[in-house]
């Protein structure tokens, strides 16, 4: 468990002690300022919180650590396209070249979007939607979108 020091006025985090200590223990070890010092600065502290990491974030409203869903990856464009097999990439390219106009538009826009971003943020709802649509359209097999969108 961890200790978070935060501004009492708006709940914004000020400092973080990742060690499994109570407030009293941390103060005794001089890792945490005493209550008078905290109060003089308008700070408060809360212990017994989960350690901050990819699935645990400080919430200013509740002034506690909340559990969130793990973020998906953010990867280079090369690594993103390497998640598709060669056959899948060629099928997508075929759709861009010979598909219906809406299909051509969708694939072209998707590629332009990725290129502009410079990286593939798998947390991006647009990227998730388009890869799912590739599966629906048959460019990638059933179940492949879930494997790619990690």
């Amino acid at each position: 468990m961890a200790i978070i020091i935060f501004r009492a006025s708006d709940g914004s985090a000020v400092s973080y002690i990742p060690d499994n200590l109570t407030i009293a223990q941390a103060q005794a070890a001089s890792q945490l300022a005493d209550n008078a010092t905290l109060a003089s600065k308008g700070f408060s502290a809360i212990d017994g919180q989960p350690a901050l990491d990819a699935t645990h974030v400080w919430d200013t409203a509740s002034k506690t650590v909340l559990t969130i869903a793990a973020k998906k990856s953010v990867i280079s464009l090369l690594i993103f396209w390497q998640r598709f097999t060669a056959t899948e990439r060629e099928a997508i390219e075929g759709g861009f070249l010979t598909g219906t106009q809406p299909v051509k538009n969708a694939i072209a826009a998707f590629k332009t979007y990725l290129q502009s971003a410079g990286v593939a943020d798998i947390n991006d709802a647009y990227i998730q939607t388009k890869v799912q649509q590739m599966e629906t359209a048959g460019f990638i097999a059933a179940g492949r979108a879930a494997q790619i969108l990690v």
Partner: protein
Amino acid sequence: MPGGFPLGLEICNGSSSLSGPSSKGTSVTAAAKAYGSWVQLIASTASDTCWMIVRIWPTGNSSNRCFTQIGVGAAASEVVIVNDLMATSGTAGVNFSEYSFPCNIPAGTRISARCNNTAADANNVQLILFDGSFTQMEGTAGVDSLGFITGNPSGTDVDPGASVNTKGSFVQFSASTARDYMGLMVMMGQNTTDNSATLAAAALPVLLDVAVGAGGSEFVIVPDAGWSVPSATSMASALFYPIPIPAGTRVSARAASGNNTASTRVIGATLYGIYQ
């Protein structure tokens, strides 16, 4: 203060471990998420060393976090003197990270390196060594890392927070420093879950404050240490700050960034304490 007591820096007799201008150093094979085998960089130093520059070129892809230890001693008896130097791989084999700091090693010493990367590939490691001249200060024995996480491997995540260009909350790097440090270095790079491609998209630079003191009473000793994202030709350099930190000190850091996107703003940092 201006005109104060002499710092005691005067170095000479620079030598490099490079075999030639086109070399990037000695290839050191890294194990995945654990330190690999030691690789000799210098069989026997020609003169005493008082200052060391370590340059690390990761050769793996941009998703790797790379850490290097420097050791002295005979093969199979190496002793680590410099811990966990972090290197960020932007474009494989192009970007390098560089450290420059006082370090005392007697002439005739064998120096080697070993690496710990996210994936099992290799880093090229180069040493540039300098002897000390008449007014060079008293010796230093080694470098500790603060905030290094062995099993990842990674530095410690520092979240700049949701407000652009506003310092976030302090993150503890050491609850209580194990030794007196006569100075420190700061290196920033990939965080524990993302990779440098993330950071490349995020239009950083990042500013990092290093502080000492209890939680809620942090006092900034190094303001605005800067880092810019690794691009095709960038490098990262860890400046040496001769700021003493006594043993038993809590050390923390906070960051500000021009990027506030939750999935791409968090950076990883490792601090280094130089001890005598």
